[in-house]
Symmetry: C2
Subunit: 148 residues, 2 copies
């Protein structure tokens, strides 16, 4: 590998039961602002992105996730473990290239091809089994977006 595959901590994904309440808490206690709010039907989540920092290389966010249905991945996580940290998302320059590299190293991929993520990003999840129990997301930010 010529350089680090991961360029930054893009976000920490946090599962919650009430998105409005959680977003209000992060705003009130920590002064964080919701910069994007959307629903991702494919993943079964309502989500809010709260900006923590915005460096030239890319932003870092708290991503709050409320399931749209109980049988979604985040819904099952809440049932099993309760509210808390669900996954960690890292910035990459090229998510397809990163997936090919990791596939070649034998890492189990949840997504073999990029999917649509928050704020127009191309994202893919890696299976926690090969990564010490950590559900890991790769995030290639949409060019020209605020998170760039």
């Amino acid at each position: 590998m010529s350089g680090p595959l991961l360029t930054r901590i893009d976000h920490v994904g946090i599962a919650c039961r009430d998105l409005d309440e959680a977003a209000a808490r992060y705003a009130e206690l920590f002064g964080l602002t919701v910069v994007c709010r959307e629903t991702n039907d494919e993943q079964g989540v309502h989500e809010a992105m709260l900006e923590v920092s915005l460096a030239p290389a890319g932003g870092s966010y708290v991503q709050l996730l409320q399931p749209t249905r109980p049988d979604s991945p985040v819904g099952r996580f809440l049932d099993r473990r309760g509210e808390g940290i669900h996954h960690i998302g890292y910035g990459v320059d090229d998510v397809e290239a990163a997936l090919a590299t990791l596939d070649g190293q034998g890492v189990r991929l949840i997504d073999r091809r990029p999917r649509h993520g928050s704020m127009g990003a191309a994202i893919a999840f890696l299976h926690p089994r090969d990564l010490g129990g950590v559900l890991t997301e790769l995030v290639q930010a949409r060019p020209g977006q605020a998170r760039d």
Copy 2:
């Protein structure tokens, strides 16, 4: 509040059973480098900091944590939940001032005064009960250190 209390995602803390194996995995798969390795007897952890990014405002790290004893907080976490994400650490400008602010807002503090953290930082933990199940750490980097 005049501005955001949190200035960046400082690190994600990951509980593991074998620090060497976990550090080797992050190096091999993701190209991350261990920039600091130390033992914190007070917290009962052997730890390794792997740098993900280093912006002018401060670095972001993967912090791998292996318990020094089974009855430490990370040891009990491993027993209860297995390997995985243990906590999230955010940068603050002044950890004592941040604790005073959050105490005034009724947030339950695990540490009422700063403790010694990784790489010479002053740190304090907030209780997950008031924060949607997320064990949250405040990190004031040591002046002049690489993480600044």
